[in-house]
Symmetry: C2
Subunit: 137 residues, 2 copies
DNA sequence: ATCCTTATTGCGAACCATGTGCAATAGTTG
DNA sequence: CAACTATTGCACATGGTTCGCAATAAGGAT
């Protein structure tokens, strides 16, 4: 997915802050806080303001190319968008956040819709626990 | 579950702020923000400070008798603790938050543990969407 | 019931993540 | 290149949540 296209399609401009924030989001496979992203941006261009980072992130989320999740302590975590099917496994020991795919979410959605008339737009699953690495020792 | 017992077991004191916060949590079947709880407390005793409300809530959550969830805009939501099996259905139209029980979570836990070595301590499922009431019209 | 000890409070200020108004800057289109 | 205006940087506002500390009150002992 190319930032340029998505922005162009919506008649939005491709600016340096937006490009940098996007590159960092894409290149990291972590779930970064806005602050962490701002820090990373600053190593490449110290003149870019935190506000622009926040503005870029909110924009990306509105455009559907970034996803905001709330876990952990210090504010929201950001990552490139992925399907709801991908749920989050947060290890309480090493702090790693992994994705896990399956049909759980789809099944849940279907069940809620057909049996309870609840039409879901967005499903968020966060599992806290101990990952296999950490529970090994 | 009696507040007094839980507190006594942990050599903690039963104070007016704690009792009021607990009563409000128990009597409401909503998911209240700390601020809303503070407001409710104030109608009964205006002299109680917000800090004490926050302190009570964090304490209750440590004691395992209250649960903090993060959805919506304005901060965390609080409710008396319930099993992970109860997932949250948040209606984007009317704002209602409903509980929904099932085996989804247990199945997910088992799957993650046996097939992926991820031992989950706590599972959080938030489904955003439109409830049957709202989608009716 | 009263005294003592110390957990807990109220207060105010601090903090942190996030949003905003506005003048200056820089994409984009012609 | 020029012009139009979306977007930025700045500095400040905001809203939720925490903290230090002196004053207060819970609960056990006398």
């Amino acid at each position: 997915m190319h930032l340029e296209e998505v922005l162009a399609e919506n008649e939005l401009r491709v600016t340096r802050p937006r490009r940098l924030v996007w590159d960092i989001l894409r290149s990291s496979n972590d779930h970064l806080t806005a602050q962490a992203i701002a820090d990373a941006v600053h190593t490449q261009d110290a003149s870019i303001n935190v506000s622009s980072v926040y503005r870029a992130l909110t924009l990306f989320s509105e455009l559907g190319i970034a996803r905001e999740s709330k876990f952990g302590e210090d504010g929201s975590r950001w990552e490139p968008a992925h399907s709801d099917e991908m749920i989050h496994l947060v290890c309480e020991k090493c702090g790693t956040v992994d994705h896990h795919g399956g049909q759980v979410v789809t099944r849940l959605r279907d069940h809620l819709a057909s049996d309870h008339g609840f039409v879901s737009s967005n499903v968020n699953v966060v599992v806290n626990g101990t990952c296999s690495n950490c529970s090994a020792q």
